[in-house]
């Protein structure tokens, strides 16, 4: 009987191997694979195209809409993300799907203020220097207000990057900031380059989240940190019902009235419902190789920050 079973098991193992090989070749046929766009079923290629169009349409009103939909609370969420990151001067940050620059600007502000405190500390310890020596130390640091920190903003959408660059100019951010057009699933960067990788409200729009997580792992230096800020799932039943009501009844209306675009905001609320919940995303991040993966719920799960390390 055992002998009879063995060939069957060997056959199964071979088939599994064949399936794995097939899966890899299917990646090449990715266009035909089915996935979701909000509550619709589409192919992967269609989804990428539709999402590109959504962000092309909303780019100019993106910030206004964020403020309207979240009543400005999104600013607090982003502040919390950067505080959790706690970057020190000299950090190299990659902000993926960073379009209009919200995380990048906060990073620069944070690092600048840390740097200022550093310089003040340094001065306090040099109370016995001559005036000349003190003024010389000012000269050195004048050109290093960011302490060599840098942020690269990477986004797949030209319109979003355009809006981000305009904002940067308008707000006076220039030093330590770069803008790169790129795809989270296939980053145009070398291995082991960045200290921190962030993706804020972007991973939901990636078609192959597993690929994006693998890329994140690849481009981070050993010891680097992965941080993801994204809408997540509310388990509290009362809040969940209120949240659903607000999402489905109010947000598309806001989209129509403010941006003249109902459909993009309908997509937004649907895509939030389709996104994996906290634990599932944590598992996916662990699958990509990250360690010490954890998440923090904000506002009872409306938003969650997931964190992992490449160790």
């Amino acid at each position: 009987a055992a002998a009879g079973l063995c060939p069957g098991r060997a056959l199964l193992a071979r088939r599994r191997g064949a399936l794995r090989a097939l899966r890899c070749s299917v990646r090449g046929l990715a266009a035909g694979r089915e996935t979701h766009f909000g509550f619709q079923t589409v192919t992967e290629a269609e989804r990428r195209e539709k999402i590109y169009q959504v962000f092309e349409n909303v780019a100019k009103k993106y910030d206004v809409m964020n403020d309207s939909m979240t009543l400005g609370i999104h600013r607090v969420w982003k502040d919390i993300l950067v505080h959790k990151m706690n970057p020190s001067p000299g950090t190299l940050l990659l902000d993926v799907a960073g379009g209009t620059g919200d995380i990048a600007f906060r990073f620069i502000n944070y690092v600048r203020s840390v740097r200022e405190r550093q310089l003040q500390q340094k001065l306090r310890h040099h109370q016995n220097l001559s005036w000349q020596e003190i003024s010389e130390s000012y000269q050195e640091d004048k050109f290093n207000l960011l302490g060599d920190s840098q942020v690269v903003v990477c986004d797949i959408n030209k319109e979003m990057l355009k809006v981000g660059k305009q904002k940067a100019q308008h707000l006076g951010y220039s030093e330590g900031l770069s803008w790169v057009l790129g795809n989270a699933e296939e980053l145009p960067f070398d291995d082991d380059k960045f200290d921190v990788y962030t993706i804020a409200f972007g991973i939901r729009n990636v078609t192959r989240i597993d690929l994006a997580l693998e890329e994140a792992y690849r481009v981070l230096k050993p010891g680097g940190r992965f941080l993801c800020l994204e809408f997540s799932h509310v388990s509290n039943p009362l809040l969940s019902r209120l949240y659903d009501l607000y999402s489905f009844q109010v947000i598309p209306v806001l989209g129509e009235v403010i941006a003249g675009d109902w459909k993009s905001y309908q997509y937004l609320v649907e895509s939030i419902r389709r996104f994996p919940p906290q634990e599932e995303l944590k598992a996916m991040i662990e699958d990509a190789g990250f360690l010490k993966v954890d998440y923090q719920n904000l506002n009872l799960g409306i938003v969650a920050i997931h964190s992992g390390f490449k160790l």
């Binding site: 619709q40 079923t41 969940s240 489905f248 009844q249 598309p252 209306v253 129509e256 009235v257 389709r274």
Partner: protein, 253 residues
């Protein structure tokens, strides 16, 4: 086909069926025509309020005026449709569903018509004011396919109203046409536009508006038969004056 926003298939695939069943709220309706977005009563109310506020703040948001018309027309539109049904010419329009678009109009032919004819004056109006019939918003929030056509027809006939009333497309002219349309159609959007449009006008214009133009517009609106019951596309050669008399619009001051 059905364009429902909740699907049966993806639920099974995700295994998160409870969540998606819970949010089966407003999309219990079909998409009735291309561009139709089914909406719940709450959404319509929010849209009406939001579009009214936005149209007041930014008068260049024509799409907001359109949305306001669609979300508040639930009584006036069926009324208009019935008026059309009970009139031979209106009935034909509902059957044949003509559209006024640059692609369907023979601009060359209309331009060649004698001065004073509807076709010639309409083309002159379009050229003088640099407008095109193709910029009219298609309906999105009307939950009846025939009523969607009625409001579409109303929008496309709007420029002809300008021609028949002899009003330009500046703020003053638009307000006058809105008064006329408010009396004619009873659409709340027209009433609101007529009442609040003058906010952006100067005192001098307001005086002209109040003393001459509005009374004339109201009188004409009351006297005239339903403007949606005229098959304009078959009357390009008719002189404007004669058409005015036939409909019952008094000569403009």
């Amino acid at each position: 086909g059905r364009a429902r926003l909740s699907h049966a298939e993806p639920r099974a695939r995700d295994g998160r069926s409870e969540e998606e069943e819970e949010e089966e709220e407003e999309e219990g309706q079909y998409q009735l025509y291309p561009g139709h977005i089914p909406t719940s009563p709450l959404q319509k109310a929010l849209l009406a309020a939001g579009s009214a506020a936005m149209a007041l703040c930014d008068p260049y948001r024509h799409d907001m005026v359109a949305v306001l018309g669609e979300t508040t027309g639930c009584l006036a539109l069926p009324n208009l449709r019935d008026k059309m049904k009970h009139h031979p010419e209106g009935y034909r329009i509902l059957q044949e569903r003509p559209r006024i678009r640059l692609s369907t109009l023979d601009m060359g032919r209309l331009r060649a018509l004698p001065d004073g004819s509807l076709g010639r004056e309409y083309v002159r109006f379009l050229e003088d004011n640099k407008v095109s019939p193709d910029t009219r918003m298609p309906p999105k929030f009307v939950d009846d396919e025939e009523l969607a056509y009625v409001i579409q027809r109303y929008r496309e006939v709007h420029d002809l109203m300008h021609t028949l009333l002899g009003m330009p497309t500046n703020m003053l002219g638009e307000v006058v046409v809105k008064w006329f349309e408010a009396v004619q159609t009873g659409l709340p959007m027209c009433v609101l536009g007529a009442a609040f449009g003058p906010i952006h006008l100067s005192a001098r214009k307001l005086q002209v508006l109040a003393t001459e133009l509005v009374p004339w517009a109201i009188r004409s609106g009351r006297n005239a038969s339903c403007i949606l019951n005229v098959y304009y596309e078959q009357r390009w050669e008719q002189p404007v004056e004669s058409l005015r008399e036939e409909i019952g619009i008094f000569p403009p001051p």
